[in-house]
């Protein structure tokens, strides 16, 4: 604050050409700069001496410091890891990565689910159907007024109690097994040539995008409508399938088999993840629903009436008139909810979901005792994730924002 306060803008500032010549120190612009430099030096000095002091204290107290621990063997197991992790040989650096990925996996999927549920509930609350709007209201009011941690516990222990023990677990044949150790899904094993299917998918996406552009341009020019969505959809589905079959269908499934303590093979979705995902997305969805409702209500009724007067039916009115205007109001607060969801994912430590706070700022911290390093790295990581999310949302916001002409 002080920085902006001392920037000159008062009488006799640089913009005032007729200002009389004054001593250098009395020149408001120079003096403004001087203050800013002094302030910057003071802040830098404070940061530096704080850092030095901390190091001296750590050393005096005989507490280990430095980053070398990142290359040491961690030696503990992690229940969910999307990258190679071996408790015998993996390092603390790897623990960090595993935790980070687990955080992202619950946050990204959570954001997507929360957005879908939130939009549906938000629209449902505005429904003319009394039952639907009441139910949506009950959903919002109850879930957003119960502390999130409690909801996480309820979901977790609810999920655990609901699901059967492994020995009498549910068997869906090819579609895997379900018991209180998690959902054991068949795991795709890609063979030779499978990569071409991926290439085909990418190519199809590009083609679909091209079709969309062309269709829009043509509609602008001639008024003729082309079913670009359906054609694009067909291309995206069919092209990879054709290539996949042409390559000789190079895909087999590793289907889990029951037995022993827990099923073997396949891939596992652990109950901790399910509970975390459900809790985070249903909770955040209540806030998103309110944001969506507010956004839609904020678009003046005249807009709908004008669109109807021009002959637009209800569907296109919503899609082409209401939603684009509502989005301008929805996006900024929506960003907040995405950030909240990501940060709330750190509550997972309570139910043993191995995300960043739990395995890195928890277990790794306790095994190494290097609180300063680990906590700073963890904070920096959350900060980075948050800043990237806001940057992306700001970019999106600027695209949908009202362009004044």
């Amino acid at each position: 604050m002080a920085v902006t306060d001392v920037t000159p803008n008062g009488p006799g500032s640089a913009h005032d050409d007729s200002a009389p010549k004054v001593a250098l120190l009395n020149n408001p612009e120079i003096r403004g700069w001087l203050f800013q430099v002094v302030l910057a030096v003071v802040v830098a000095y404070l940061a530096y001496s704080g850092w030095k002091n901390m190091n001296a204290n750590l050393q005096a107290a005989g507490i280990a410091s430095g980053w070398a621990f990142l290359n040491n063997n961690a030696g503990f197991a992690i229940s969910q890891s999307l990258i190679e992790y071996n408790q015998a040989s993996s390092t603390y650096g790897r623990v960090y990565l595993v935790g980070l990925i687990n955080t992202l996996v619950v946050a990204v999927i959570g954001v997507i689910l929360a957005t879908i549920i939130g939009f549906l509930i938000g629209v449902a609350r505005l429904s003319k159907n009394w039952m639907v709007s009441r139910l949506a209201a009950v959903y919002v009011e109850s879930l957003r007024n119960i502390p999130l941690l409690l909801q996480i516990f309820i979901w977790y222990f609810g999920v655990l109690r609901l699901l059967p023990q492994p020995r009498d677990g549910l068997d869906f044949g090819f579609f895997g097994l379900l018991n209180n150790r998690g959902y054991f899904a068949p795991k795709p094993v890609w063979g030779d040539g499978a990569i071409y299917t991926l290439y085909a998918f990418i190519a199809a996406c590009v083609i679909a995008w091209g079709i969309g552009r062309w269709a829009r341009a043509r509609q602008m020019a001639t008024g003729q409508i082309f079913p670009a969505f359906w054609v694009g959809f067909a291309v995206i589905v069919l092209l990879p399938v054709i290539v996949f079959l042409a390559a000789g269908a190079p895909l087999t499934w590793d289907v889990p088999v029951a037995g022993g303590f827990r099923p073997k093979g396949g891939m596992t979705i652990i109950p901790e993840y399910i509970a975390m995902l459900v809790a985070l997305s249903t909770y955040t969805a209540t806030y998103i629903a309110e944001i969506v409702r507010a956004g839609i209500l904020a678009v003046s009724k005249g807009q709908t009436e004008a669109a109807h007067a021009l002959g637009l039916r209800s569907g296109p009115t919503l899609r082409l008139v209401i939603i684009p205007q509502a989005l301008r109001i929805i996006i900024p607060p929506l960003t907040n909810q995405y950030l909240n969801l990501t940060k709330n994912s750190s509550l997972a430590v309570a139910i043993a979901y191995p995300e960043l706070t739990s395995v890195f700022a928890g277990t790794a911290l306790n095994q190494t005792g290097q609180a300063v390093e680990i906590i700073s790295l963890t904070m920096l990581t959350y900060l980075t994730i948050s800043l990237l999310t806001s940057a992306f949302m700001n970019w999106y916001n600027s695209r949908v924002a009202l362009v004044e002409r």
Partner: protein, 340 residues
């Protein structure tokens, strides 16, 4: 301009604070000044540190805190307790939030040498064990390959279990919670086949299960868990007080001094007992306390055997036998250096 001044003042304050943090070593003086010992304990582990419905703490670890308070103030109640999770405990001690950590904490080399802390003795020799449902028909830990295992994060437990399964070429899934209550609840709900922690902890936590009778502790002990009090490094006087508070209880048991006969023994004619109880010699001065420091400890909490029996012994719900925690003279490991 005013705001700038304010920033400057704030900066100087910050500097001053940062500068003073390095000092402060004399824990005894601090404790005396505030009038109580701030003791870090668990969040609830029957037999070791457990609050009752009225918030009164009891247990072996709690008695160690009380012993230290009694040695200093002649009053075993001059203690305040800070419940800590396994994960928080060392930071709480390092940062000075507590004066003493007495929370079933295993003495390991890295904790002793890399955290700026010192272990002041062993008040319970433990080892890690496994608990499992009786209905699973498993009789040895070696039959556990593939099992899901619940435990606390930030403990020696999760490292030992990793070693054990690796050494025996077995697989497992580790489900690690921050708080014991959740470990118990998840194990109780069937999330895990096995609950692993210090064996004493298994007996204690079993009491919290819905049907304690349906669970058994497997015979294998897979590690050494010497549990003891911890203090900050660099304050030898405080270290000595805590160390000797425990030794006093062990020596008292050996000398036959009990809560009931303390005064009698102090006036009696056993020279070793008289030295310990302060009616002969000037041993209190050596640790900066009054000469009846040990007599006060025994009056407040009793000797080691009394502490053990009251909290975890055969007549308590935990029902643990003395085993290796018997006195050295009875085939155990508890051995107090002489007061001389």
């Amino acid at each position: 301009m005013k705001k700038l001044m304010l920033t400057g003042v704030l900066g100087v304050v910050t500097l001053a604070i940062a500068g003073s943090a390095a000092a402060s070593a004399a824990t005894l003086d601090d404790v005396k000044a505030k009038g109580f010992v701030q003791c870090g304990v668990s969040q609830g582990l029957p037999g070791f540190s457990n609050p009752d419905a009225n918030g009164n703490w009891s247990g072996m670890d709690v008695d160690l805190c009380r012993a230290v308070a009694a040695a200093i103030f002649g009053n075993g109640d001059a203690v305040k307790f800070t419940p800590l999770s396994a994960k928080e405990r060392f930071t709480a001690l390092q940062s000075g939030e507590i004066d003493l950590l007495s929370r079933n904490t295993t003495w390991t080399m890295s904790r002793d040498t890399q955290l700026g802390l010192n272990f002041a003795g062993v008040n319970y020799y433990d080892g890690q064990g496994f608990m499992i449902r009786t209905s699973m028909n498993i009789n040895s830990a070696l039959e556990l390959s593939g099992a899901s295992i619940c435990t606390n994060t930030g403990t020696t437990t999760e490292l030992n279990v990793a070693d054990y399964f690796r050494a025996n070429n077995m697989e497992y899934e580790l489900v690690a919670f921050e708080k014991s209550d959740e470990v118990v609840a998840a194990y109780d709900a069937g999330r895990c086949d096995v609950y692993t922690t210090d064996q004493s902890g298994l007996y204690a936590q079993r009491l919290k299960l819905t049907n304690p009778g349906e669970h058994k502790v497997l015979p294998e002990i897979i590690s050494k868990e010497p549990l003891g009090p911890v203090v900050r490094q660099g304050d030898d006087q405080w270290f000595n007080i805590v160390k000797w508070a425990h030794i006093a209880t062990v020596n008292a048991e050996e000398l036959g001094i009990t809560q009931a006969n303390v005064d009698e023994m102090a006036a009696g004619d056993n020279p070793a007992a008289k030295r310990l109880l302060g009616t002969e010699g000037e041993f209190g001065a050596g640790i900066g306390l009054s000469n009846d420091w040990a007599a006060n400890i025994i009056k407040a909490v009793g000797n080691y055997g009394e502490i053990f029996n009251r909290n975890v012994g055969p007549d308590t719900p935990l029902g643990i036998a003395r085993g290796i925690n018997a006195l050295w003279s009875k085939g155990g490991l508890q051995y107090g250096p002489p007061v001389r």
